[in-house]
């Protein structure tokens, strides 16, 4: 066997092992979590909000709702901001400035989430407590921090989608007497829409999955929030907070929560892939 063939084999095995780790993780989560779902019943597990694992109550509805609200809040803040950034960078600024700003924004993605959480705790949380009331640790705080954390994803994928729109569309529009903004608004954005939706979905995936920063600023109270200033506990937070001491059914229930997250993320990624392929 010559050297090239050997290297090829090794690379193939390495690739295989990373894929198989995905398979193993999947099997593991389902194996650990499914028994509880069968035990409590899927309906009670998902639709009951009574979570008292030591007393045998495993309803995660409050956490599902909290996760959804935190994610939606992050999208409401992060998507318009990210999209505006992407439009300015892709359409309205010079090549040179874009070359400088885009990598800078991508650096945001490299900041560890615990740092976001830390900044949230020392700046954002007191700000909310002092000016808006409530404990400060809240749905709002989590949404704002997550809204910032999804920016790099939303911005860089949206920029790619916008720059992939052929210039002939822009020229055609300008030549009809459109302003640059009209051109972006009426031709470029519709042409890039599937890429932009992909950016939003992947940003959403990031927001649903984020744990550390959320635990630090969300307050982690186990109830359905009635105001954006209420503290909330998301699905991911709950797993991270309780896994350390959970055993038996309780432990299974946390894995079952993992299954729910897994399914949500799969659906999001799959729809992003399908949308990207439609183009």
């Amino acid at each position: 066997m010559d050297r090239g063939k050997f290297v090829e084999r090794v690379l193939f095995l390495l690739a295989l092992s990373s894929i198989s780790s995905l398979v193993i993780i999947t099997i593991f989560i389902f194996e650990e979590g499914l028994p509880l779902i069968f035990h409590t019943g899927l309906k009670d597990f998902i639709f009951s909000s009574h979570w008292a694992p030591t007393k045998g109550h495993f309803g995660i509805a409050a956490m599902i709702i909290s996760s959804i609200l935190v994610t939606l809040g992050a999208m409401v803040l992060g998507v318009p901001l990210g999209l505006a950034c992407a439009i300015v960078l892709a359409e309205f600024c010079s090549e040179r400035l874009r070359g400088l700003l885009k990598p800078t924004l991508e650096l945001l993605a490299g900041i560890p989430s615990v740092v976001y959480g830390f900044l949230g705790v020392i700046w954002l949380v007191p700000l909310i407590r002092n000016y808006l009331g409530g404990p400060g640790l809240s749905l709002l705080a989590a949404a704002v921090i997550l809204g910032i954390m999804i920016l790099p994803t939303v911005i860089s994928i949206s920029i790619d989608a916008l720059t992939a729109v052929p210039d002939v569309y822009r020229d055609g529009s300008i030549a009809l007497g459109a302003t640059q903004w009209q051109t972006v608004h009426r031709v470029v954005l519709p042409a890039a829409s599937s890429g932009i939706i992909t950016a939003v979905i992947l940003g959403m995936g990031r927001a649903v999955g984020e744990t550390m920063a959320v635990i630090m600023v969300a307050g982690n109270a186990l109830k359905i929030p009635t105001s954006i200033l209420d503290p909330v506990r998301t699905l991911t937070s709950n797993i991270a907070l309780e896994l350390g001491y959970a055993a038996g059914r309780h432990r299974e229930a946390l894995f079952a929560t993992g299954i729910v997250l897994f399914v949500i993320i799969m659906i999001l990624n799959l729809s992003a892939t399908l949308l990207a392929r439609r183009k």
Binding site: Y169, A175, L176, Q182, R186, V187, P190
Partner: protein
């Protein structure tokens, strides 16, 4: 082909006035001198063809006429381009009005990835909020003017990208007519089309000439000879010779024109 000296003495090579008049036009792409001292006048309700070898500046000259070169960084222009009596490079020129008046058809058909209907009404919607009735009339007229109405009237909501290349190019012309321009600039509008479609599009140009002034860039000399009234021959950024098409093709005055039309260089 010989040139009689008597002829060239009397012949007014460039008419001095036209709907478009170019005076000492120079254009530089960051240092590269792409148009050199171009003088000329294009006549109203006529088809003017611009011919010349690749890279001689035909597209550049065409883009000067509706200031599409403004979109390219580092372009510098000197001289005057007078359209309807106004220098379009004078400060304060309204580019939107200019581009409404001087429309452009591109080399490859570039309908927007929208429906056929939305493509045609794109221009009118930019410049106001015409009532639906009016838009629909305008759309029907524009599509009829390019002989596309009968083919697409049952699928106006379908994507424009589903049309054939020929239909797409017609749609692009219709989209232009809907903004009611005076001058149509066409940059090799037939280069993506087969020979029969090309002939049909030329027929359309002759039809449109009755209402519009057309300037067409073409690589195809037969096409220039078939459709145009006047022809300009460009070479290395100069407008070497400009005159009535029959004269340019049968009695060119400049040896470079003669070399080009007899096929000495591509």
């Amino acid at each position: 082909m010989t040139i009689s000296p008597a002829d060239s003495d009397n012949y007014q090579q460039c008419p001095l006035e036209g709907i478009i008049t170019l005076r000492s036009l120079n254009l530089y792409y960051t240092g590269f001198h792409a148009l050199k001292e171009v003088n000329g006048a294009f006549q109203q309700q006529a088809i003017t063809a611009l011919i010349g070898p690749s890279g001689c500046g035909k597209s550049t000259l065409l883009r000067v006429l509706n200031r599409m070169n403004d979109l390219i960084e580092g372009v510098q222009i000197t001289g005057e381009v007078i359209i309807d009596g106004e220098n379009i490079y004078a400060p304060g020129t309204d580019l939107i009005q200019l581009r409404k008046k001087v429309g452009m058809v591109f080399q490859r058909p570039n309908p927007f990835p929208l429906s056929i209907y939305d493509n045609v009404v794109y221009g009118p919607r930019l410049h106001g909020r015409p009532p639906r009735r009016e838009l629909e009339n305008l759309m029907e007229h524009s599509l009829a003017a390019v002989q596309l109405w009968d083919e697409v009237k049952d699928r106006l909501k379908a994507s424009a990208l589903a049309l054939t290349e020929e239909q797409q190019q017609r749609l692009c012309i219709a989209r232009l007519l809907a903004v009611e321009p005076e001058i149509l600039l066409m940059d090799e509008p037939c280069s993506a089309l087969d020979p029969l479609a090309t002939l049909r599009l030329e027929e359309l140009m002759r039809e449109l000439k009755k209402l519009y002034t057309i300037i067409i860039v073409t690589h195809n000399m037969q096409q220039a000879a078939r459709v145009s009234d006047d022809t300009g021959f460009m070479y290395l950024g100069e407008l070497v010779e400009f005159g009535e098409t029959g004269q340019i093709f049968t009695r060119p005055k400049d040896v470079r024109t003669e070399d080009y039309i007899t096929g000495k260089y591509g």
